[in-house]
Amino acid sequence: MSTESKIINFMKLRGLASVLSIAMVLASIGILATKGLNFGLDFTGGTLIEVLYEEPQPLEEVRSTLSGAGYENAIVVNFGSDTDVLVRLPQGMSPKLGEEVLATLRADAPSEVELLRIEFVGPQVGEKLREQGGLAVLLALIVVLIYIAMRFQIKFAVGAVAALVHDVIITLGAFALVGWDFDLTVLAAILAVIGYSLNDSIVVADRIRENLRKLRKHEAFDVVNISLTETLDRTLATSGTTMLVLVALAVFGGDMIHSFALALIIGIGVGTYSSIYIVANLLLTMNISQDDLIVIQKEGAEIDDLP
């Protein structure tokens, strides 16, 4: 192998990486347990009204208008620009509430108020969604575990799924830490992170599998390093291009997909790291060796012969 001299010793840092990952996961769980996710309207139920004022409207005035009309716990923030105001009420008292609030705002505003959107979600709906979201993630993990165990080997499946769990927990932890709204679009992003992280883990695992068969004289430790070095080019190019698109989405996509893009950026960042330091690391911890692939070898050989 001509590139052998340039092999990067990724696994030299595996101890440090393990500590870092465990620390980050624990910290994320800690934050999730204490601070919790700032669930958006989709999950909590309530009423959300986004309006556009003709002139910039001080939020203080909007708040006092609302509390004057008896809406005590309203959250009032700017959304995008200082003429765009988002009002969130914790309870969806009734579907009529939205219209009443809008009327209150209109009555008190010095200029035109345009309604951009009203959303009302009943609390039972939110509860159901939360269950459904959790179920989707769990189901996805199980199916992935089974598929990889069949196509590769159980150790690879454990590695890939561990990487997925790692990525999801850290992304959620980051959301809880910063306090960004966690709504349905962000849930979609988390699921996309699963897809992406999986893609990355499989590419790395696939190369390790291939090299384990090919480089029979090497120690598993070296095989992993060689594989990671060989795939580094691709890993960076792919993460890089996807990041380019995501940054474009985050910057130009508007407020409604902003948090979606942020979740993906964090998730893909962590996912790229985890495909190296979780998957490969776990494979070494589980003492992956040529022997693990004996059965697969025949099957793999056939596939390699395909045009």
Partner: protein, 623 residues
Amino acid sequence: MLNKYPLWKNLLLLAVLGFGLLYAMPNLYPPDPAVQISGQSSGMKIDQPTIERASRALDAAGIEHFGELASSDGKSGLIRLYASDGQLRAQRIIQRALGDGYIVALNQASTTPDWLSNLGAQAMKLGLDLSGGVHFLLEVDTDAAIDNRLDQYTTGIKKALREAGIRGYVSLADNGEIQGKFRSEALRDKALSVIRKEYTDLTAQRAEQSDPENFDLVALLSDTKRKEIEDYAVGQNLTTLRNRVNELGVSEPLVQRQGRNRIVVELPGIQDTAEAKRILGKTANLEFRLEARYDAPASDREQFEFRNPGLGEPSAWLERDVVITGERVANAQSSFDENGMPQVNITLDSEGGTLMHRMTRHNINRRLGVLFIERKSRTRYEVNEAGEEQIIKIPYDEKKIISLATIRDALGVQFRITGLNAPGEANELALLLRAGALAAPIDFVEERTVGPSLGAENIAKGVISVQIGLGLVALFMVVYYRVFGVVAVAALAFNIVLLVAAMSILGATLTLPGIAGIVLTVGMAVDANVLIFSRIREEVRNGMAPQHAIDAGYGRAYVTIMDANITTLLVALILYAVGTGPVKGFAVTLSIGILTSMFTAIMGTRAIINLIYGGRRVKKLAI
């Protein structure tokens, strides 16, 4: 030969590309703002004179328009406008000019050339977050439907036992059990056999004795019957809501069942949620009941107030037994009687007619009451364990008498309700009856409204970010992989065309998360090419001859790409199955995108690279 595709493969690719371009094309034609006219009732024809009347009204108001036409079946007409800001005004003007018999709705008229639409090519539908409109999620109170049915059974059993001369006490318990108490074991067993014979939907059996004096039985609704009633209630409500949505005049509404007892209603282009909710949520129903006789036992009669208390009595006693409900009403129209008073002419369906006839024939000179039932809710404040005040909505039915008239003759399929105060009231009643009654009450559990300007802004931003993202990716690929990068970018463009074509053909709806899904697909599609190209590069670096390096690169990367994409596809399919709303929209574009990107990134790029490098001597690859 190495790196040369057989002719059929190249032809196949060309065919797919052509097909994709053709079916993606309708998306390039922006629709014209338009106003759609249709009749209030299904029998009404929209003919050329009607359209001309409407267009003259527009001319008078100075709204520019073009391309009026009536559809071939005469059910609707369409007037195209030059500018969308005149749409709302045009709607109002036409509505005023044509009068109440017509439904005038905002619409988007397709500008896709005929030859394309004849091929079945249509533009993608836009989700409410992109087009603006209202989304409602309604929950059908199926428990109420079951309670209602149990009530009917209880009444029926009482009557059947009375006719069979079996004395006993039958009542409906709160847990949904019909309980019977009898003086002797023989009576109980006789009652049991009557119930078993006449009510096969119920499972009746002996029950434990509650006291030594009584012998008990209990009858339960079977689970399958219970489910049947629930399904019927949801199905009936679905039909009713569809009818009511039609009354609203929305051009492309969606009314769909979701899960066990929920119904989704989407009304694109509607801004006035209050009006929409008023019409949709009208949980009004009618019940026809006989006036109770003076000597009727208290348990058989109920007192109701009049809806419009006139000069006469403020309330009346009606029998508990219902002759028919509003569900049996086939048609209803408001008009005026001989004395110029508003009335509603009602036509029942055949079963309703039979029931009505049987009942009225024996009760001539008694009075028949019409009860108007409206679902309302009252608010109660409760403090929960955590000390927070909770607002609880308790729905209840308000039942009031709208008419109480003496039966002069046996009534049949057709009769009329008089005694209404105003023509407006008669109109509203007729509309509600015509649109059908709800089989069970509905509650609004979710509502989302997106303004049209926000929708347009979402589209614009989505498109711009996708363009910028794509541009950056293309730049990177060309700089990093040179000729191969150019090929990959071409394949990426091909991929997006195919994705759009597939979504258009499948009739999938594009939403904001869907746009995000497309973005992620772009990332994944690029990944396949990056995998292949970096492999080729690696092989070249290891000293492999160019032609073999290309072949090896594609061959080895193939397995990896398959594994990676199949797992992602599995995840996308799970998302589609489990998810709702945005998650589903995202899953649709992602799964279609994975399929098209595997095709273009593997076969597509290979074909182009084969055309460039295949079948000739190559010393060096531009990679």
